[in-house]
């Protein structure tokens, strides 16, 4: 048995309900959950894992605000400063006419920056090939828990047992790491 302090225990389940209940039970006993892998988003798993609210919303908000301000400024500059154009007798800097483009650009920059921030934060960029358990992308649910000390392994196994794990292994991802 490994004596490294950062040993991990990987438990695999075949249903959403089991992995949710197991996650809750393990966290309530004070274990640190490294991650939960599932083929789809599980409602309530963030709560069960004790995850903090996502900070991604701030990226969206700030990117949107930046997009709005920069596009409005650009439109004012092009139509009132750089090349003033009289359109239908309206003032050069006619804000209502600028809103549609500014709105679209707000959405565009908020959207693109959110996706970019998500991919960067999740370290999902081209060429990166993290080891995965192939079945968590189809029909398996995996819970990875940090083992603070090797002697707590029986306790953790006993905690998981009522939730009918299909297999439990140490030091994830031990079972045949593959690259997608």
């Amino acid at each position: 048995m490994s004596t490294q302090p950062s040993t991990r225990l990987l438990a695999q389940f075949d249903s959403e309900d089991s992995v949710l209940a197991a996650t809750r039970a393990v966290r309530e006993r004070g274990f640190t959950i490294e991650d939960v892998y599932a083929p789809y988003a599980i409602h309530g798993i963030d709560d069960a894992m004790g995850l903090q609210p996502s900070r991604l919303t701030w990226v969206t908000f700030l990117a949107g605000l930046t997009g709005l301000v920069s596009m409005l400024s650009f439109e004012v500059w092009t139509s009132a400063v750089s090349w003033p154009l009289n359109v239908g007798g309206k003032p050069f800097a006619s804000v209502p006419a600028f809103i549609p483009v500014a709105f679209e650009f707000t959405v565009l920059s908020a959207g693109l920056c959110t996706v970019a921030a998500l991919l960067l934060r999740a370290k999902l960029w081209p060429g990166r090939a993290p080891p995965v358990l192939p079945r968590v992308t189809s029909d398996r649910f995996a819970l990875v828990t940090l083992l603070p000390a090797p002697d707590r392994e029986p306790e953790l196994r006993a905690l998981l047992a009522p939730h009918t794990p299909l297999e439990i292994s140490l030091d994830a991802p031990a079972p045949k790491a593959v690259t997608p």
């Binding site: 209940a21 988003a41 409602h43 309530g44 963030d46 709560d47 609210p53 919303t57 908000f61 239908g88 309206k90 209502p96 006419a97 809103i99 549609p100």
Partner: protein
């Protein structure tokens, strides 16, 4: 009966549905009495105020009518889309839409005083009273096949047939499913939800053309119906939040099964339809502002210039900018009390919006009269009392709905 259908003994008590136990709703008698008395007094005082009171009455009436219709559209849209999370809230909307019969009755003062409220009914006076030019008179005369009292009354009857007919069918089927649950009823409601929406949308749009847009008979805007609807729809969502918060400690109300996720979704709908209102309002404004056609732009000039500029600015700030940024907060949307305060705020601004639509048709400067307030509590009181009267003695949650379990268990990321 509710307990039998929905107890999940196999899952133990972890399933929220297991603890679901609701009897027929018998509360709200005091609220019904107070709302009814306040309503009757309010309407009486408004109508006793003569011609100025009539304008107040129209404002109050159209404000609350939009909410009842908004609730009907909301409920039908969820049926059409097969939405499940909102099943615990559906009866609130059915009840709000169930107040529509009383709106037919409350329409009588408007119908009887149409000649005082709508000046297109007496075009011969307009050159002197409103300074209409020859061109404007010709313009109005060209509309006379639509804008005449006979067809005005005929259409009003048609609108109420659609409004009451639809709300009544949903009411009947939904309550029938309480007693004898069947998937056939769910299917029937889904079909009527999808099939009825276009009919309701047309009736709502034309009703708003007749009763609101025709106050300025030369103005026309095809977006006007959706603008009026946007405010009512938002207010209907806000009223759902307020009602759910007020019913929190009332036994057998629906609020017992409203989870933070449901509150959160209502908050998200409030945010979305605050933005929707602004989107519609801006789209209508920008097209008219950029084209600058005399018969259209005058409508905006009389609402955004002079003393009205202040009201218009307040409307933009309080109806969009402040609530939009406030409602971005996730925490606020999950706290019923804070969310209902925001809902009260938005319902107030929606009333200001209705005032802003109607008042400039009669006055060059903002003219607030006490009858605006008596009409607001009057029509609202009578409608709320009638809705409470209808729901009392029935289940406050559609206990026979096959999606109720999904709704009770609903959580969201």
């Amino acid at each position: 009966m509710a307990t039998d259908t929905h107890a999940h003994d196999a899952h133990g008590h972890a399933d929220p549905a297991a603890g679901f136990d609701i009897e027929k709703f018998t509360g709200g008698s005091q609220a019904m009495m107070i709302a009814g008395i306040v309503g009757v007094i309010g309407i009486g005082a408004t109508l006793a105020a003569g011609e100025q009171g009539l304008e107040g009455y129209l404002t109050g009436y159209l404000y609350w009518l939009a909410i009842a219709l908004g609730a009907l559209v909301l409920m039908m849209a969820f049926h059409a889309a097969g939405g499940r999370w909102m099943t615990v809230l559906r009866r609130v909307w059915e009840t709000m839409a169930g107040s529509l019969p009383v709106f037919a009755l409350l329409f009588l003062p408007i119908a009887l005083n149409a000649k005082k409220l709508f000046f297109w009914t007496h075009p011969e006076d307009l050159p002197t009273t409103h300074g209409f030019t020859k061109e404007q008179m010709a313009h109005l005369a060209a509309k006379s096949s639509y804008l005449n009292l006979g067809s005005f009354y005929t259409r009003a009857v048609l609108y109420f047939v659609v409004f009451i007919g639809l709300s009544q069918l949903f009411w009947m089927w939904s309550h029938k499913a309480d007693e004898s649950p069947s998937s056939a009823l769910t299917r029937r409601m889904r079909r009527l939800g999808a099939g009825g929406l276009p009919i309701l949308a047309l009736a709502l749009t034309f009703a708003c053309f007749d009763w609101l847009l025709s106050l300025d008979p030369l103005f026309s805007s095809t977006m006007f119906g959706i603008y009026y609807f946007a405010g009512g729809f938002l207010s209907a969502i806000c009223l759902t939040v307020i009602v759910s918060r007020l019913a929190q400690d009332v036994p057998n109300s629906h609020t017992a099964v409203v989870s933070p996720s449901h509150w959160h979704n209502l908050g998200k709908l409030m945010l979305a339809f605050t933005a929707f209102w602004a989107y519609i309002a801006f789209s209508q404004y920008m097209l008219i502002w950029i084209a600058n056609l005399p018969e259209e732009i005058t409508w905006y000039i009389s609402r955004t210039q002079g003393a009205w500029k202040g009201v218009w600015s307040v409307l933009i700030a309080t109806h969009f900018i402040i609530p939009f940024f406030t409602l971005l907060s996730r925490d606020l949307k999950r706290k019923p009390t804070l969310l209902s305060l925001m809902a009260v705020w938005l319902m107030s601004t929606c009333f200001l919006d209705t005032f802003w639509l109607i008042n400039p048709a009669y006055h060059a400067e903002p003219t607030f009269h006490w009858s605006h307030l008596t009409a607001l509590v009057g029509v609202g009181g009578v409608a709320i009392a009638f809705a409470l009267f209808r729901i009392r003695g029935r289940y406050a949650v559609p206990v026979g709905d096959p999606y109720l379990d999904d709704s009770l268990r609903y959580t969201q990321p």
